[in-house]
Structures are given as structure tokens and as C-alpha cells.
Amino acid sequence: MLGRTANGLFWMFRYLERAENTARLLDAGMRMALTRDLVTAEEEWRSVISTAGQRTAYEAKHGTYTGSQVWNFMLRDKANPSSILAMFGLVRQNARLARNAISGELWEAINENWLVIDEQLKKPVAENRVLDTVATIRRAGTLAHGALAGSMLRDEGYHFARAGTFIERADSISRILDIKYYLLLPSLSYVGSSLDTGQWDQVLRSVSGDRAYRWLNAGQIDAKGICEFLILDDRFPRSLAFCYCALRDDLAALARLHGTEGQSNMLMRDADTRLTDLTIEEIFDQGLHEFLVEFTQDNSAIAEAISTDYRFLA
């Protein structure tokens, strides 16, 4: 496979994951705003924008936080390079670039949904239409991952697509956790306060983990439990441990296909050990924030190494 094509596949799935993650944040934000009074709602919208990492771009344009401004900014604003519209445009562009490395089913999953999203986001979005787009993005993601699993040859292209997915997902989870880390520190949490459980709920919802968490913890919600769930529980598909389990397999498969291990495999081994050997107590002892910052940096380093190992760029 061409290095450029591998790069296209990797980024196609990174952007798809990013668009999906933004959609999840927006979904959680919408729900939050509906259950809060107006003053707190403004706080919530600010927090949604921060969590999405779009605060600087947003504040360059808007001085206040209202729901309609926030969702239109996140969905379709031309001033926002990370809008869902921009992300999904990049998904499709990379799919076009890697067109002869992806199955027709996968291409159509992306292209058909692009047509819908492009249409839905032509004009500013009213509150009763926000969730339509969120749903379309999720559907696009589900279809694309289904097509990937059901129709793609298990060659290197498949593993680049998955590597892109899990690198991006891990990056997104660790950033969300880091932005909320002060809420999650056991020492600062006053258990039982309704605001805090609401905030925690919001963290879980941002990664669509509220249901799975409740199921596993029978409704008990506390900071340590949430951190353990999102960092170390490899049963949950949006935990760091799950992402790295998958990433490890894909990088190992790539090394096997190429008959040689690269820098990415070495970095992966180190990073993986940290997730499997540490307990949540140890992570808190060393500092949650420090742990997450280091994780994000290492995650970027793995992405960088994949790009070098497999000659993504000339």
C-alpha cells in the first residue's frame, strides 16, 4: 500500500472519530442544558466548548455562551476549523484519497451520510434539529465501522483505519478527563452534592458511558469509580485501556505484515504497560493531571511514530 494512502485511511478514521466525539459532547451538552436553569446552562455550554477544545476559536467570535451559538459553532461555523461539518468534509476527502483502498460499502457509508450532513448544515440549526445531525454523525460512524468490519480485507489498510480510530479516541478521552480532572479528584469532591453528580454524569455522557457505568456500578457514582472506568476498564469501548488493547493488536498486526517492528511498536509496549500495571490508586498518587498529560503526549508520539514507520509522508 502507498504511504500516502495509509495516511489517508489513518486520518479518515481519526477525523471520523473526532466528528463522532464532538457529536457526543454536543449530545451531552444539549441534555445538560435542558435540565439546568439558564445561568448554569451558560456555564454548561462554556464547559462543552472547553471540553471540545474549541474555546479560543469560539471566544474569538462570541462574547457570550448561548446554546444556539454554541451548537451552531460546533456544528457548522466556518470560523471553526474543528466543526463537525469541517471534520466530516475531511473524512470524505480522505476517503476519496484512499478510495481504492476502501471497499465500496465503506465509501458509500461515508458519501451518503456526507450528502445528508451537508444538507442539514446548509443553514443555521434550530434547537429541534440539533439532534438530527448528531444522529446522522453517529449513524455515519456506525455504518463506517460496520462496513470496515464487514467488508474490508484484513490487510494493512484495515489496521491503519483502526489505529487512527483508537489513537483519536484515546486522545479525546484523556483530554475530556483532564479538563474535568478537578471534578474527579477524590480529595476535592464532596460526595452527594447534586451539582457534582450532575457534572460526573456529564463526563460519562460525553463519552456515551453513562449507561454502561450504571450497569456495572448499580447506580453508585463516585469520582474514583468513573476514573477507573474510563481509564482502566478494558470492557468499555471508550476507555483508555480498551483503546490501547485494540491499538496494540493493530500495531502488532502491522509489524507482522511488514515483517519488522518499528518505533511505534516499542512506544506502544511502554504505554501499554502503564495502563495494565497501574491501579487507580497509584494513578491518583502520582497525580491524575500528570498522568493524563503524559498519556496524551505519549499517544501523540505513537501517532507520529506510525506515520514515520509506514512512510505516510514523502
Binding site: 500500500m1 502507498l2 500516502r4 450528502l115 494493512e156
Partner: protein, 475 residues
């Protein structure tokens, strides 16, 4: 321009009865529910959008992807008609290839006084770098599109030869896919020759032209200018269907005397490059030094037998319309036979007598630039205003050798589906021809382009033309 009544109607006899080729189709059509047809007509467009069969249009604010309109009524050719056509096409294409070889070697045709030297001198597509060099297998024109027009039951003419980079074959394939998906029952009733193995034939034909340096399984790659090129969809489609890599100039470089592509495990030699990049951008060291679409040094590798470039650089000479006007002589010179497929009568404005005739009859004629394509820069006399004609006259007088003129052809019509039912529109036909050292392979079918405006003779997609599925019936 008047209506389409005076033209050869491919579906119906002058008395209104249905011609043989279309009889099964018409039986089917008459049985269809009008509402269902209307719905299917709309579905076709959605289908093309979903599959992403679009071409890019630039020049406005943002790049836009457009569909080439698809008409659901097939253009049907009988087995017998097709047999005759293929003989003529084969003859013409083999002459074209021999002509290219001669032009870049001894130039016997010029020595024999059958082709004026100045036609080469004035030809921008002529490449001195190709002189004395024979491409692998002796093949110059690996893929040719011969544009045909029909004016009567047995009257087919060649309108243009596309020996440089004929495009549109993806539409031949996707139009058929769409038709089969929409009207499966039609294909159970009417025996139609399949076109779907074109990509396999293309891959085989290209591999048969591999250079000596290639291994047992030649590596074929499609070279595209990139995702912003108007035909990118087709490049990706063909690469995908052939199981070949789709490369850009930046993926390639010369390594150890071979052209190699950057794969995830290092540089790997490419044997055959089906390039969809124009000659002048192929090699910045030889041609346009600013080109980033090509590969520095590829021409050296080519000349030393390390790679096959399809089509060979310099084949654009044949697309020149002044050369076209000599095709009957060219065919005779190299095959020793009379041409089976006639040219459209052509006046070369470079000749004084012809120019005088053309200037006297501008309102009757079609005048084209010799290097033009896509229907641009031409005058369709009968469809032009006095003012347009006078403006064109000035250009023509200024540089006569840049133009040729042809009579306004009575292009045949084939019906299209309209809201008011079937209505005749003018069509042409581009069959696709593959050339390898021991074979000329013509896929039974081709691209039928259709002028969607009533009375219009311009079928180019860039100017509002559409396409149809083209059926060659089995015996």
C-alpha cells in the same frame, strides 16, 4: 436550428415503426407504468450521487462536484452493426499506432509526400524526445477512444480520434451498473453484451505492454494529478477496479534506474504507468520545470526501458484535427487498404482554396481549432448569430492554419426520457479500444453522449450534454 425530425432516428423508421434493434426495449417500455418510470428516473440521480460518480467543476467560489446527467433510455446497436464498426475501428487504430511509430522514426509518410512536414512542425503535441525511441512492445496508443457519429442506417463517420488520454470509460461502466440495478428485468429479456470486464481487460492489456525490466507479474499504477482533478473519480475507479495503485507524482521517484512508488514498506518499482497527467507535466526535468504532478527523471527511465508509460508521450499528435483530416491517407498508407470508417469531410483552413470556401460558407459550417477539445473554441455556423460569425471570421483570417471546418452533420438521434415522454436528441458514440503488442481489444459498447437540449448538436458534458448506457446486442 430546426427540430430533429429530418435526422436519422435510431429507434424509429420514418413511418414511426420501431427498428429491430429497439423492438424488445420498446415492448418493455410500453408495458411500464408511467409513474414508475418517473420514479426510477429520479432514483437514477440519487444513485449516482451516492456512489459519488461526479466530476469536479472549478472557477466559482468553491470546488463543486457535479453529475453528468444520465438518461435511462439505452442506445442500442445490433451485433451486425457492431461487427462492421469494430473492423473499421481496428483498422484505424492499428494505422494510428503505425503512424506514431513512423513519425518518431523514418517519417516515410512525409518522405512519400502523403503528409506535409509542416503539420509536425506546427503540432504542439509533437515531442522531439520521442524521436528514435520505440516504447515497450511497440505500442504507442494503449487506450484509444474513437468518436463516432451516425447519419443513416449504414453511415458511421469518425469525428475525432482520442489517442492522448480518452476519458469517460467509468461512465460506460457505471451507466451499465445503474441500468442493471434499476431495470434488472430488461437484461433478462434483452441479450446485451457485457462491458463490466473492461477493467480486467485494461489491466491485462497494460501488463502485456510491460517493459523488459518487469517481473512475471508486472506492477501497474494509475497516475492521477490528484483529488482536485475533474476526472479524479474515474482515476480512482479504474485503479480500484484493476487492483492497481492510484499514485500521484509525489508518491513516485526514480530509484536505481526504475520508477518507484513510496509504499508503507519502502520504495517499490512500478512497471506500467497508466498516466492521466498530460505530457508537459510528466517530467519537470524534460518538460515543464514547474510541474509537481510528474516525476523528475521519468523520461530517462522510460527511454532506457525501465518503465512503460501509457499512452506514450507524444501521442497527442493524433488528436490534432489537421492530422485528422489526413486520416484516410494515413489508414491507406499503413494498412494498404481503403478506410472502412470514413472521416467527416474536412476543410483545412491552412489551404488557400479551402479557406476561401470556409469563409464564404461560415453560416453552414462547424469550425474547430486544430488542438481544441471539449467543444470549446468552436463555431457552429447554423446555431450562431451574425455577430458571432463575424467575430469568429476575424480570428480565422488572422490564423487560418489553427482551424479546420466541417459540414454541420446530421447527427442521428436517439430518444431520451422527458416529462412528456420519449423525445429524440442527438447522440455520438465513443467506443474504447485497448492496444497491446498482439491484440486490439474493443469492448462491446462505449460511451454514448447525448445533447439534452432539443435540436442541440453539442454533446460535451462540459456544455450540458448527458450520457446513456450503450448496448451492443448479442447475436
Amino acid at each position: 436550428m430546426s427540430g430533429t425530425a429530418d435526422f436519422f432516428n435510431e429507434m424509429r423508421e420514418p413511418d414511426g415503426s420501431v427498428r429491430d434493434a429497439y423492438s424488445s426495449y420498446c415492448d418493455w417500455y410500453d408495458e411500464q407504468d408511467a409513474r414508475l418510470l418517473k420514479r426510477k428516473h429520479r432514483e437514477a440521480e440519487t444513485n449516482f450521487r451516492k456512489t459519488g460518480i461526479t466530476f469536479n467543476v472549478y472557477g466559482e467560489d468553491e470546488a463543486e462536484e457535479r453529475l453528468i446527467p444520465f438518461d435511462m433510455v439505452p442506445r442500442i446497436i445490433t451485433a451486425n452493426e457492431w461487427r462492421k464498426l469494430t473492423k473499421g475501428i481496428e483498422q484505424r487504430v492499428s494505422a494510428l499506432n503505425a503512424f506514431m511509430h513512423d513519425l518518431y522514426h523514418r517519417q516515410e509518410i512525409i518522405r512519400a509526400g502523403r503528409l506535409p512536414q509542416r503539420l509536425l512542425r506546427d503540432n504542439a503535441a509533437w515531442l522531439p524526445n520521442m524521436v528514435g525511441f520505440t516504447p515497450p512492445g511497440g505500442v504507442y496508443t494503449h487506450i484509444v477512444g474513437i468518436d463516432l457519429v451516425r447519419t443513416g442506417p449504414d453511415e458511421f463517420f469518425v469525428l475525432e480520434d482520442n489517442a492522448r488520454t480518452p476519458s469517460g470509460v467509468s461512465y460506460m461502466l457505471e451507466n451499465r451498473e445503474t441500468m442493471m440495478a434499476m431495470y434488472p428485468e430488461l437484461f433478462m429479456r434483452v441479450p446485451v453484451e457485457s462491458v463490466s470486464d473492461y477493467p480486467r481487460r485494461l489491466a491485462k492489456s497494460l501488463a502485456a505492454c510491460a517493459p523488459a525490466a518487469a517481473g512475471d507479474r508486472p506492477v501497474v499504477a494509475v497516475l492521477t494529478p490528484g483529488i482536485y482533478n475533474s476526472a479524479y473519480f474515474e482515476h480512482a475507479f479504474l485503479a480500484d477496479q484493476m487492483g492497481a495503485e492510484l499514485v500521484e507524482g509525489s508518491d513516485l521517484r526514480v530509484v536505481d534506474g526504475r520508477v518507484a512508488m513510496r509504499t508503507t514498506s519502502g520504495y517499490k518499482a512500478v512497471d506500467v504507468i497508466y498516466r492521466r497527467v498530460d505530457d508537459e507535466f510528466l517530467d519537470p526535468l524534460t518538460f515543464n520545470p514547474d510541474s509537481v504532478l510528474g516525476v523528475p527523471g521519468i523520461m530517462d527511465v522510460y527511454r532506457s526501458g525501465g518503465v512503460t508509460i501509457a499512452n506514450a508521450p507524444g501521442t497527442g499528435v493524433c488528436d490534432d484535427k489537421a492530422i485528422y483530416s489526413f486520416m484516410p491517407d494515413i489508414v491507406e498508407f499503413y494498412t494498404g487498404e481503403k478506410p472502412l470508417l470514413p472521416n467527416v469531410e474536412t476543410w483545412r483552413c491552412a489551404d488557400e482554396d479551402s479557406l476561401k470556401y470556409v469563409l464564404d460558407n461560415l453560416e453552414e459550417l462547424v469550425v474547430k481549432e486544430v488542438h481544441g477539445s471539449g467543444g470549446y473554441g468552436m463555431l457552429v455556423g447554423p446555431a450562431s448569430s451574425k455577430k458571432e460569425i463575424e467575430k469568429f471570421r476575424a480570428k480565422l483570417v488572422e490564423n487560418p492554419s489553427n482551424y479546420i471546418a466541417q459540414p454541420t452533420l446530421s447527427l442521428s438521434t436517439c430518444p431520451i426520457y422527458t416529462k412528456k415522454g420519449l423525445a429524440p436528441r442527438h447522440v455520438d458514440l465513443r467506443p474504447y479500444v485497448l492496444v497491446s503488442p498482439d491484440k486490439i481489444d474493443i469492448t462491446p459498447g462505449g460511451l454514448t453522449r447525448v445533447a439534452l437540449e432539443e435540436g442541440s448538436l453539442v454533446v460535451n458534458s462540459s456544455q450540458g450534454g448527458g450520457t446513456k448506457d450503450t448496448w451492443v446486442l448479442k447475436d
